[in-house]
Symmetry: C2
């Protein structure tokens, strides 16, 4: 028996990678003053249909529960967020800065960078309409990527503005009912042949291409770049009006992060959605908002392919699983003394392991090495002294058992002290 297609087992190494990614997400979000929330993995089906229309059901893990309710595994976080914000926003000062790391589910054909489940870092800033909020969101997106060891040579955030296009459509007297359709053509403009795009744009082709070829000037995006310049992050961004994001609910600045080599799907994406909370909450809350999401699958691929990021990740993954100390019981008469010491060491937050049953000393040292212990502590003939051996250098030292803790405090690299 195996995991279902498109679902992952997380063996310890995989789980350590996941924890590493989650830890960076949390750490950077908190630096920006975001606090974590979460919602249920299973929700009322209508919550998702109301936002995305009945078409979404085809891609959902939906079913009737034993009480006959139509339910679905969440495919995204925004409907849950809107529900929670609508119910509780009066209890929170604005802007609300919330993040979460939910697991999401979509019934799709599994392919590279796209499984049937993934984890997704979501950051949303709610209750602030000013452009500074957009700057803050793009900055955190960049700083998250930087926290993984990625640089402006590795990733680029392409920024754009839906409002720019809306203004353009108005100037061109394009009827409002055609806006979304034209935005979708623009969205496809870099993936499809120019002639095809031109055909679909009709009379709009010439002015649209002028903009896409670099002729578009947006004072708002200029200010956005300046905001990022103040933070020293401008080298990570590129104004690119081709980015419009498929989803209909974006109202202003939108952005997507990509690997510079263009080998992978988008790493992250987001933007401003000033009307969505009002709409999803049936008017219970009206708050301007923006946010972005970053999944763990594409990001994970990039981290494995980028040498610097990969080395940083591997070191963190090893540190996460590594023991501090391995207690070697060289004489079975010392077992109960050793176990008492192990309890003290664990109480002092050291990660400690030992052989549960009588085992040859050589085998115990082998286990110490395999488990990544930094120091072995040997209980044997020297009792009531114990022998401390630094495994990397093979340096040994005898210390009285009762001074063991004090002595170990001098090893600053042991994880209880450094993490």
């Amino acid at each position: 028996m195996q995991a279902l297609p498109g679902f992952r087992d997380f063996l310890p190494d995989d789980c350590a990678v996941r924890s590493y990614i989650f830890a960076r997400w949390r750490e950077v979000a908190r630096r920006y003053g975001f606090v974590e929330y979460d919602g249920p993995v299973l929700e009322d089906l209508h919550l998702f249909v109301r936002k995305s229309g009945p078409e979404i059901v085809k891609q959902l893990y939906d079913f009737a529960d034993k009480g006959g309710r139509a339910v679905a595994l969440r495919p995204e976080m925004t409907p849950t967020l809107a529900r929670m914000v609508a119910a509780s926003h009066r209890d929170f000062r604005k802007p609300i800065k919330w993040f979460c790391i939910p697991q999401m589910f979509r019934y799709e054909r599994p392919q590279r960078g796209r499984l049937r489940e993934h984890y997704q870092f979501n950051c949303d800033l709610i209750g602030e309409a000013a452009l500074d909020a957009d700057v803050e969101l793009i900055a955190i997106c960049i700083d998250v990527l930087r926290a993984f060891g990625l640089t402006a040579q590795d990733v680029v955030v392409r920024i754009s503005d839906r409002e720019f296009w809306i203004d353009f459509f108005r100037a061109q007297n394009l009827p409002q009912e055609r806006w979304q359709e034209v935005l979708e053509v623009i969205d496809k403009s870099e993936r499809e042949p120019r002639e095809k795009i031109a055909e679909q744009l009709g009379q709009l082709a010439r002015p649209v291409f002028e903009i896409l070829d670099g002729g578009g000037r947006s004072e708002k995006l200029q200010r956005l770049v300046e905001g990022l310049q103040q933070r020293g992050l401008a080298e990570f961004v590129r104004v690119d009006l081709r980015i419009v994001r498929g989803l209909a609910y974006y109202t202003g600045v939108v952005f997507e992060a990509f690997d510079c080599q263009g080998k992978l799907r988008a790493i992250a994406g987001g933007g401003r959605y000033d009307n969505l909370i009002h709409q999803l909450s049936d008017g219970a809350a009206s708050l301007p908002a923006g946010g972005f999401a970053m999944g763990d699958v594409v990001l994970g691929e990039l981290l494995r392919e980028n040498a610097t990021a990969h080395a940083q990740m591997e070191a963190a993954v090893a540190a996460q699983q590594r023991l501090d100390l391995y207690v070697v019981i060289a004489k079975e008469e010392r077992r109960s003394d050793a176990i008492a010491a192990i309890q003290c060491l664990r109480d002092a937050s050291y990660r400690v392991d030992y052989a549960l049953t009588p085992t040859k000393v050589g085998k115990q040292f082998q286990a110490a090495e395999q488990l990544g212990a930094q120091v072995a502590v040997l209980f044997g003939d020297e009792w009531p002294q114990v022998k401390i051996k630094v495994l990397a250098t093979r340096k040994e030292q005898l210390v009285p058992n009762e001074e063991l803790l004090a002595h170990l405090a001098r090893f600053p690299s042991l994880s209880s002290l450094s993490s």
Copy 2:
């Protein structure tokens, strides 16, 4: 719209409690040399039916996915663990010490201490048959409870041994097909009237009551208690042969943790299941094993009701959400200098927030207080000096902007340095 019945929304305070519980679980598991793994939240339905029989389906969130597969949200971790261990155990040294914190789902009537979803800390030690492994598992269970600030006055781990009862049944010539039934009667013996139990036990009533009333002596459990004594944990345990655990697959030592006041359901439970991996993997792996699980719902209730544990939790929850620094922009001319400084402070891992748009100074200080910032850094007339104000003491100090980081390093309580 609300969350489904029996499902929880995690607003930031709730999410911080969840993170606090998860962090203690992880921390103690790692001290014992356990490493984290996880499996999919959705599994093939047959995986669960094979272990628990078709009866389990009544309690499951099961459905047919769009590919027609019978699938279910996981109600427990053991079948997934057995599947993963059977597939990969040759890659790992024994004993395998794995933990996980999966979310579980059961379609049951929601009631106190029992929702339709919960998180469950699972620790399993696989590949070691010796009693020392049972000691290690009970010790970690106790140390996890201690990590929450609970003492032997608050919680008790009742330990028992299935094998003791099996030996007794053999001595009484009880046919093997009746063992499970009698074990279930013993399991109910403290919740149901003695006469009813006596009736169900029939001829076995007298010898069984003799044991339950304290007449049972188990040399194995005596050694187990001694093992915990070596660790200074014996005061947390009580031999209690009434504990047999309902599930059929336990083969040896079993245990359950309770609050001493007896107000709540079991906090944790586990035991040895030496045949289960063989059975669940169709013989692909044959490994003795033991493990236990602790849910977040009952534990959470206990932590809220226990004064010491509650205070410790509240402090951790506040620290988790608290800012380090709030940057007050007293003159708008200083905004871009302030933003450059904020970027440096966040890069140095401080948690920093500020007013995204022009805001009265008084309001900014109010935000600083509400967000739990410890220090306010004020950019105003004093530029290129900035004013540092410790919010608890209201002590102020002027420092040159370029010395800000060096100066803040002297505040050891700021979270970037302390966590």
